[in-house]
């Protein structure tokens, strides 16, 4: 699993590739929380195009990121979910909690949701 980080305008994009499971989900958690808590960006965008599998520990990392983003007023956005990651979020009934878009263009162009 690899994570690379890009800065685009006021956003940070984390490009993740490989499978996320118990062996490496702490790396995802660490990178996500660092970007949310330490860098003053308006949105943190997680590119999951290259991720074929996420287990419950990976989902837990995303939930931690979501909670941290709500605390810091940062938007956490996911895009590029393939079937398996989307299914695990559905089973966990979390799919509606996240902002999810099909691709990077949509994720970057998306307006801030009104509360």
């Amino acid at each position: 699993m690899k994570i690379s980080i890009r800065r685009v305008d006021q956003a940070t994009i984390l490009d993740v590739s490989g499978n996320i499971d118990m062996s490496n989900s702490p790396e995802v958690r660490k990178a996500l929380l660092r970007e949310i808590r330490e860098n003053s960006v308006s949105r943190v965008v997680l590119n999951l195009t290259g991720v074929a599998y996420i287990d419950s520990s990976g989902v837990a990392s995303l939930v931690e990121g979501l909670k941290a983003s709500r605390e810091s007023g940062t938007r956490l956005i996911l895009f590029g979910l393939s079937d398996s990651p989307r299914e695990v979020l559905k089973i966990s009934r979390l799919v509606k909690l996240f902002e999810i878009y099909d691709d990077e263009q949509q994720a970057m162009a998306s307006p801030t949701p009104s509360n």
């Binding site: 499971d21 287990d55 419950s56 520990s57 909670k67 299914e87 695990v88 089973i91």
Partner: protein, 178 residues
Amino acid sequence: MKPLAASKSRGVKRSSKSSEMARDFLLKLELRSHPNLLCVVRGAMEPLMDTLGFSAEECRAIIRGVDEAVSNIMRHSYHGRLDQPIEIYCSRLHRGVNSESEQGVEIVLFDCGPAVDPTKLTARPLDEIRPGGLGLHIIRGSMDTVEYKRAGRLNRLRLVKFAGPCGSPSKPVQEKPS
């Protein structure tokens, strides 16, 4: 590595009710409780389930169920120790339902961790937005049958999936106890 569960789930067993349920042993995996081996388990399951004729969606569900079950053993039964034994037995299941035959797979996992308190095998409520505690829910949401029992000094977790609508409610499985 000394086998944990000799003869369990091996060979071909048939119920006393003619051809209602048959089990054909397919594959045994023995591994240590190291998280780096989770990808190996998934990698073994994928082509096997494909060979058995499951749909892509069903294959993903089975892989997810087995992966979460092994992760749970590593995390909760062995508390993160990396060198403990885990055994996984895969068998093809056939069952007759209303004169039609259904194909499925049975996956039985053994570990030698301490006995699990069955009252703690409950998935947490999903309306709580918090990390953790999702593994059991994901296993149950992915498989048709999830059964735990203590077998001597071993924990035995049995997972069953039949070809059919993914996420369908558990179907009754008629079989003679082995």
